[in-house]
Amino acid sequence: MVTKAKTDTADKVEEPNDEEAGKLTAVTDVEVGIDGKRYSFAAGKPIASDTPANVMLQLKNSGNLKEV
């Protein structure tokens, strides 16, 4: 079912910038569960630039994202 509120906020999420995304790493080994999917990131390894924006947001909110 399409939720009405979703369209209101969709444009407010910052998409990961390709240039910046390559420089971002996870602080520790981390697992992100969102939208019924599971994403794992190894500490210190660059995060792929095609990682969904909401996964990046969860990493940021949890303090597990750092720029190198």
Partner: protein
């Protein structure tokens, strides 16, 4: 006679809508009075002329929401928080064998997991499937243990022996749960500089405003829709002075006039039980504090602090809950 004491709830996450789980992951006793299922038909009497009494009725909707109050067991609290938030970030904690789970609200994703719930009163069974966590109210009063009241909404309901809870699942009975013992509470009526503050009771209502959607042809909901996420904290202080009130209303501890714009503050709750920890952070909260009542019988002034909702930004969650326990993953 049937005894309402012999009742518990089994919980398992489904892989998808319509795929009913086969074994429970968790089994939890209820605390106080609550429900393990919700099946309430809404029968309307037809308004027809022709005789002085009604002769027709119709079934319009069957309500399938219910509230299950449980203790805040570290393992199951994480499952219910995942059910509500739909997002979790898990890392290894410093204590070996423990994991830190960070729950926060995603700005645009409204996907939360589906659950199968097995409830019973003695050998009367009901299985609710395609269920979602609609709300969680975490609260305590004084030094009484935390209560987590979970509101579920579901689409499918099954009765009889087929609905009996299959064996399996980790039973919470007898396991330790969170209590206010060792609590640290920090509060900033305005701004973000948190100061350790004593309180007497605390409540936090988290809701996703999950609504059952009914379609012509079936009295049971055909889907569940998601509304806005809301987090409403409330707590009671017994302060030495009214600086918290003054700060929240004027924007400053030395303010003399009511602020004409919104003043936002913050709070942080830290609880522990063994190596399990629970940290709730609200970084931007428009608190409501009223001038306290005077009372002819005397006693300490009680300052009631509450907020209708907590605020986030386009990229920062309005609330973050960090739970450390020995569950390796809630998404596996």
């Amino acid at each position: 006679m049937l005894n309402k004491l012999i009742s518990s709830i089994g919980v398992a996450r489904q892989t998808a809508l319509g795929t009913v789980a086969t074994t429970p992951t968790w089994v939890s006793p209820l605390v106080g009075s609550g429900a393990v299922a919700g099946v309430e038909p809404s029968v309307s009497i037809d308004e027809e002329t022709g005789q002085s009494y009604a002769i027709n009725a119709y079934l319009e909707e069957i309500s399938s929401s219910f509230d299950t109050p449980v203790r805040a067991y570290p393992k199951t609290l994480g499952e219910f928080l995942y059910g509500l938030f739909g997002a979790v970030v898990t890392t290894a904690a410093t204590t070996t064998g423990f994991y830190k789970h960070v729950f926060s609200v995603d700005a645009t994703s409204q996907t939360t997991p589906w659950y199968t719930l097995w409830g019973n009163i003695e050998s009367e069974y009901v299985r609710s499937s395609d269920a979602k966590v609609g709300a969680i109210e975490i609260s305590w009063d004084g030094n009484k243990p935390l209560e987590a009241a979970i509101t579920f909404a579901c689409i499918g309901v099954l009765f009889g022996s087929e609905a009996a809870r299959p064996t399996g699942g980790t039973d919470m009975a007898g396991l330790n749960y969170f209590t206010p013992a060792g609590l640290t509470f920090k509060f900033a009526p305005a701004g973000s500089t948190l100061v350790e503050t004593k309180l007497t009771k605390f409540g936090l209502k988290l809701t996703r405003n999950v609504n059952p959607e009914y379609f012509s042809g079936s009295a049971l909901p055909g889907d569940l829709s998601m509304g806005k996420f809301e987090a409403a904290p409330s707590f009671t202080l017994k302060p030495d002075d009214l600086s918290a009130f003054r700060t929240a209303i004027t924007g400053s501890a030395t303010g003399t006039a009511v602020a004409e714009s919104v003043v936002t503050g913050a709070y942080e709750v830290n609880l522990t039980v063994g190596s399990n920890t629970l940290k709730i952070s609200g970084p931007k909260v428009p608190f409501k504090i009223s001038w306290p009542d005077s009372d002819a019988s005397g006693g300490a002034v009680e300052l009631e602090v509450s907020a209708d909702n907590q605020l986030g930004t386009s990229s920062v969650s309005p609330i973050t809950i960090e739970l450390t326990n020995d569950v390796a993953s809630y998404t596996a």
